[in-house]
């Protein structure tokens, strides 16, 4: 265990800005990418469902 | 005025449609700036010394490269004829196109410049002056460039001829723009350079649309 307290942990021995800047941006970037991919998939699926429903209606 | 907004919107729409167009103008700027350290070598002191010049030349080239699409496509597909036949004064329509050009090819450069300046190890004060000089300078580039683009319209070997016409006219902008940053870095104060740049911009705003319109009418004959 390297850290005496939480504030020590966040200070990172004076390098807090740099370390948390790196880890934070990385985490945020990966998270955003995941969300974007999910949105892309969801949008496509919604569009297709709508198209298919329209097709079925026009056939009936 | 409606037609002005219409043409501005259309040009922005076209830029968006060619999805990556705005981004690629930016990337061009970025890549050209990054080429210089590759050609010259990595010494920080030397790079800091040449940074304002390199950034300004690159901005100038990026703005210029996107010029030939300013009127050429409209000329070829007949849109320009339609513009000339519009009851709205052609100069107004032209101003709309120039504004669209600056928004897509000039403004992004202003915003990116500080990041590239960091790579050359510029101080944050110098970065501020750099942005300010580009903010005043890039609209001037679009205005002057429009005259050149109109003049070379439909002329054989247009693309390169355009740069030949336009680059010399860009030189004052380059000298005052890069000079402002250098003066500041040398502790001389950038005010004089910047106000000259502003004066040039005012002049350009006033005259360039008329010159462009005249050149377009010639190209249409």
């Amino acid at each position: 265990m390297n850290w005496g307290s939480a504030s020590e942990f966040f200070a990172m021995g004076g390098y807090g800005f740099y370390v948390w800047g790196s880890f934070g941006v990385t985490a945020a970037a990966l998270l955003i990418e995941t969300l974007l991919v999910r949105k892309r998939f969801g949008d496509t699926r919604r569009l297709l469902r709508r198209e298919l429903a329209a097709d079925r209606e026009s056939q009936d | 005025m409606n037609a002005f907004v219409a043409i501005l919107r259309r040009d922005l729409l076209l830029a968006m449609r060619r999805k990556s167009e705005m981004l690629t103008a930016l990337f061009f700027f970025m890549i050209v700036v990054s080429l210089f350290p590759l050609g010259i070598g990595p010494e920080t002191a030397l790079l800091r010394r040449i940074a304002p010049g390199v950034l300004w030349v690159a901005a100038l080239l990026a703005a210029m490269l996107s010029l030939n699409r300013l009127f050429a496509a409209d000329h070829q597909d007949g849109t320009l004829e339609q513009m000339a036949l519009s009851p709205t004064p052609l100069a107004l329509l032209v101003s709309g196109k120039v504004l669209a050009h600056w928004l897509t090819a000039g403004l992004p450069l202003v915003l990116l410049a500080p990041v590239l300046g960091l790579q050359f190890d510029l101080s944050s004060r110098a970065l501020g002056i750099l942005m300010l000089s580009l903010l005043l300078g890039t609209p001037l580039l679009s205005l002057i460039g429009a005259i050149g683009a109109a003049l070379t319209l439909g002329v054989r070997g247009g693309g390169v001829l355009l740069s030949l016409l336009v680059l010399p006219l860009y030189i004052p902008a380059l000298i005052f723009g890069a000079g402002a940053v250098e003066a500041d870095m040398a502790g001389l104060g950038a005010g004089g350079h910047l106000s000259l740049l502003g004066a040039l911009l005012a002049l350009g705003l006033f005259f360039a649309p008329w010159a462009t319109t005249a050149a377009l009418r010639i190209a249409l004959e």
């Binding site: - | 409606n2 037609a3 219409a6 043409i7 919107r9 259309r10 729409l13 076209l14 449609r17 060619r18 496509a73 070829q76 597909d77 007949g78 849109t79 004829e81 339609q82 513009m83 000339a84 036949l85 519009s86 009851p87 709205t88 004064p89 329509l93 249409l220 004959e221």
Partner: protein, 204 residues
């Protein structure tokens, strides 16, 4: 009423035509005829005010065009060889922006109706790049359906259109003339328009 007296056109060291007189009154059409290279396109561009005539003068409602340019252009619709279509925009966007630029903005519903009438149903939102030759021409022609221009100057409007579209276009032109519009056009195909018309043959 458009009138021209003694028009002449010189290209390079060739005199294409000279002494051309013409007049088109409301409810009249004029078909300009002539072999390839006779100077039809050149004449139409001169009439539209896009290029200057070597000799002669043009009058719109009794006034020289040169003096009331914007006024004339507000009443004019010119469609040339090039269709003025942006490859990257859809048919709908093309129609709306070109109308707005010429000072007569269109709402989406009107534009869509025009496109459907001209036979582009289902193609309204495709980028024009992928349209066929004839479909591109139709996008340009859709402008005829949504303006109040009095004078139409059309350079080869029938080119690349299929038989059905040619009939439809004839109908549109007839309607325009019936409403008291004026029409000047060229075509190598034989077309039958109703109403009061004349032909002008350009020969050397």
């Amino acid at each position: 009423m458009l009138q021209a007296h003694g028009l002449a056109c010189v290209r390079g060291d060739r005199r294409l035509f000279s002494g051309v007189d013409l007049s088109v009154a409301p409810g009249q059409w004029l078909q300009v005829e002539g072999a390839n290279g006779a100077g039809k396109t050149s004449l139409l561009r001169i009439l539209a005010g896009l290029s200057p005539a070597a000799e002669g003068r043009i009058e719109w409602e009794g006034q020289p065009v040169a003096e009331g340019r914007d006024d004339f252009h507000a009443r004019l619709l010119y469609l040339g060889h090039a269709p003025a279509i942006k490859d990257d925009l859809s048919a709908l966007e093309n129609l709306q922006t070109s109308a707005a630029v010429s000072g007569r903005p269109l709402d989406e519903a009107t534009a869509l109706t025009a496109l459907r009438r001209i036979g582009l149903k289902g193609r309204e939102d495709l980028p024009s790049r992928v349209l066929s030759q004839g479909q591109k021409r139709r996008v340009a022609l859709a402008r005829l359906l949504c303006g109040q221009a009095r004078l139409w100057i059309l350079d080869e409007p029938f080119v690349a259109l299929d038989v059905g579209a040619v009939d439809m276009l004839c109908g549109i032109l007839d309607e325009h003339i019936g409403r008291g519009g004026m029409l000047i056009f060229t075509s190598h195909q034989a077309v039958q328009l109703q109403g009061n018309g004349a032909r002008l043959e350009l020969t050397k």
